[in-house]
Subunit: 172 residues, 2 copies
């Protein structure tokens, strides 16, 4: 089924979902971040049909998220490696990981953990902040343009700004 | 088509995609963050077929991302509002937005901007960091467990495994 395209959308979220929103595609990208590079390895790890995997890999290469490269061991295999554009998807993957950790596991369930390689410590939480480092909550933000002005009144929980300077400065 | 389920996956990214990975579902969540609450408003904004929207809304309520609420104006309409679990998806949406802004627009193209309501200034970039606030790049991280050890050798940019047993227990 050809879905509606948001390729020309003014909303970057819609364009991103148009480019990499496919459920399988983000799992392929996740596997690429974990070092998987070959068709057979993606297929084995994801349990995806060959045809579906071929299509997704082709689309990710077309979107310049993955690039084809000669096999790292000098064999005749082709490998798929993340481009800079693809590597920049890491925070999307991390945001999904942290939400899943927070909401989709029972206390007694194990899950994989993203750690800093050098220390083995879990990475820190992603946080929304102002450009000057103040912490921000979603209710303190607004999408520029019409939505900011016209939907403010009926926003759930009254998306209002917090008192100036009420958020502690954040260090990065 | 019933897709493969990752509902029981050990990887939080896979579970998250299983729960909210549908392309339409994240656009519905995005619209909910922008204050859209009614079926007709979601349909109008997304241009999605009624049946598809009904299914997605039902699934998002079942996943406890959205909850049904009486109409805010006292009318007979039902409204869909984000739960705490749903609001916690904000960083996933922001991460997608920032990637899209970086990679999917020509220099002369307009796009919407997420701003701090109080100041009108664009929100800051999401950044990966250690728990102590040091900046981290994806190549400095590793997914705990087998992936850390077995795929380290062929990881681009030398993603090395953390020392065995160096991962602190994770609290959920």
């Amino acid at each position: 089924m050809k879905r509606k395209s948001f390729r020309e959308a003014e909303c970057p979220v819609a364009r991103t979902l148009d480019a990499i929103g496919d459920w399988w595609s983000l799992l392929i990208v996740r596997d690429a971040f974990d070092g998987i590079r070959r068709f057979s390895a993606f297929q084995q790890n994801l349990g995806i049909a060959r045809g579906m995997l071929s299509t997704r890999l082709r689309d990710l290469v077309e979107a310049e998220v993955l690039a084809l490269a000669p096999a790292s061991d000098g064999s005749a295999y082709q490998e798929y490696v993340l481009t800079k554009k693809g590597r920049d998807l890491f925070l999307v993957i991390v945001a999904m990981r942290q939400w899943g950790e927070d909401h989709l596991y029972r206390a007694d369930e194990r899950h994989s953990v993203l750690v800093e390689t050098a220390t083995g410590a879990p990475v820190g939480r992603l946080r929304l902040q102002a450009e000057d480092g103040r912490r921000l909550g979603w209710a303190e933000t607004c999408v520029s343009g019409a939505k900011c002005d016209t939907s403010a009144a009926d926003k759930p929980k009254g998306r209002r700004a917090s008192p100036a300077g009420s958020n502690p400065p954040r260090q990065l």
